[in-house]
Amino acid sequence: MEKDRKLRILIAKPGLDGHDRGARVIARAFRDAGFEVVYTGCHQTPEQIVSTAIQEDVDMVGLSILSGAHTYSFPRIMELLRENRAEDITVIGGGIFPLEDIPKLKDVGIKEIFEPGAKLQDIIGWVRENVKPREAVSL
């Protein structure tokens, strides 16, 4: 009775900014696209985000940030995922980033950056295209 596996996604806000409009809108959009979204609210440390991603066995983490602290938190999250051998989890970012930072974020392993004005449908389309539920574990 195997069904199609459902995508599980963590929407997290690293850092201390509480502007959760974008995170909430995208969480709803993902729910309406049929994904299971784990939402942990604002003010998360990289350690908390990675621990949640692993316990919840998500396929993707969407990070929303507006404070400019991505220069610390994004690379740190990628580092922690690698330390936990969970680098197969796709990570994307949404929010405001200086242009010169975007290639740097991609270099540390952030798969895609969505900037203000990105369409929900495009983001959902990107996820469907690029994120596949992982394989089942075997004995």
Binding site: M1, E2, K3, R5, K6, R8, A27, R28, F30, R31, D32, A33, G34, F35, E36, V37, V38, Y39, T40, G41, Q44, E47, Q48, S51, T52, I54, Q55, E56, D57, N84, R85, A86, P133, R134, A136, V137, S138, L139
Partner: protein
């Protein structure tokens, strides 16, 4: 290390991935569950039910903290509803459990109902077994909390806690109508609010009524505890209440623990039987080229009726 050893060693990533397979009904997960079953039966399971907004997650959070102080490891399963329109879900119970995110002694998993009714998910019992096998001492299960029919939890948990808040008259009605029977402990949360004493009185009346009605009283009189979960007030009372109920079960002098275990086993067995039987029969039908849709058509067109179709199918396939 194979998956079984990883789970038994409490490895988080392996456990998390297996839970996913169980939730997705991947068939290989059943084999693994089978292997793990001998290692289950050690954990104590506490269930929480009650309407949205009564503070179940916050209570779970506080109790987890209390158990950690005892040196106990904790597994948490929190259920949120799946949208009937999209099949997606937003799982937000973890928000109130953040202090445990970095504690390796606590494992939290958010679950979506995926169309299952009764307060839990299809997978909850299996997941409890996995967390049990991975070595969690206590497993706290939070139901979705939307209906009066959330009685499933009582078949999974050793101790079932029904949570309400003051001033919800409807809530008392709901308790009366459905979930009165299942509560080992009733919690009136947000007890600083007006009307808390009145709510406690109303529940007490219901409890007494229920005790009188119970045909064979098994000797447990449900406790009523007032809490203010946000401030941590009343948590000690609740913790002691659960311990008391646990002692009562473990005494097993009237077979009360056997009752719980039998109920749970029966429930799991029946569910598995239903799933397997259905899967087998549908499989056999399909291998003969009979489609369910065709049978549906017959019923719709009044060529036959559901009862005769079932009789026919069973006669054919279970020969």
């Amino acid at each position: 290390m194979g998956i079984i050893d990883q789970i038994l060693a409490g490895e988080v990533r392996a456990t998390a991935r297996l839970l996913r397979d169980i939730d997705d009904q991947v068939s290989s997960s059943q084999t693994i569950l089978r292997e793990l079953y001998p290692y289950t039966g050690k954990a104590y399971v506490v269930g929480f039910t009650g309407s949205p907004g009564v503070g179940k997650s916050t209570l779970v959070d506080q109790l987890a903290l209390r158990y950690r102080k005892e040196g106990k490891t904790v597994g948490i399963l929190a259920v949120d509803p799946t949208s009937p329109f999209s099949g997606g879900a937003i799982l937000g119970d973890r928000i109130r459990m953040q202090r445990h995110f970095l504690d390796s002694g606590v494992f939290i998993r958010s679950l979506a109902t995926r169309g299952h009714f009764g307060g839990l998910t299809r997978s909850t019992n299996d997941m409890i077994n996995v967390l049990d096998a991975m070595g969690k001492d206590v497993i706290l299960v939070e139901t979705v909390g939307v209906g009066q029919d959330e009685v499933e939890i009582a078949q999974s948990a050793h101790t079932t806690i029904v949570v309400t808040i003051p001033g919800m008259g409807d809530e008392i009605q709901a308790i009366k109508a459905g979930i009165m029977e299942i509560g080992s402990i009733f919690v009136v949360n947000k007890a600083d609010r007006e009307g808390s004493r009145k709510t406690v009185r109303e529940i007490r009346n219901l409890v007494e009524l229920g005790m009188r009605r119970r045909e064979e009283s098994n000797g447990w009189e449900p406790l009523i505890v007032e809490t203010e979960a946000v401030k941590g007030r009343g948590i000690e009372d609740l913790f002691q209440g659960i311990e008391k109920h646990r002692d009562y079960l473990l005494a097993n002098d009237r077979g009360q623990l056997d009752d719980v275990l039998q109920k749970r086993a029966r429930n799991q067995l029946m569910e598995a039987l239903r799933d397997e039987a259905l899967k087998t029969i549908v499989g056999r039908l399909e291998s003969r080229g009979v489609l369910i849709d065709d049978l549906v058509r017959k019923v719709v067109d009044k060529e036959s009726d559901p009862y005769s179709v079932v009789q026919q199918v069973l006669a054919e396939e279970l020969r």
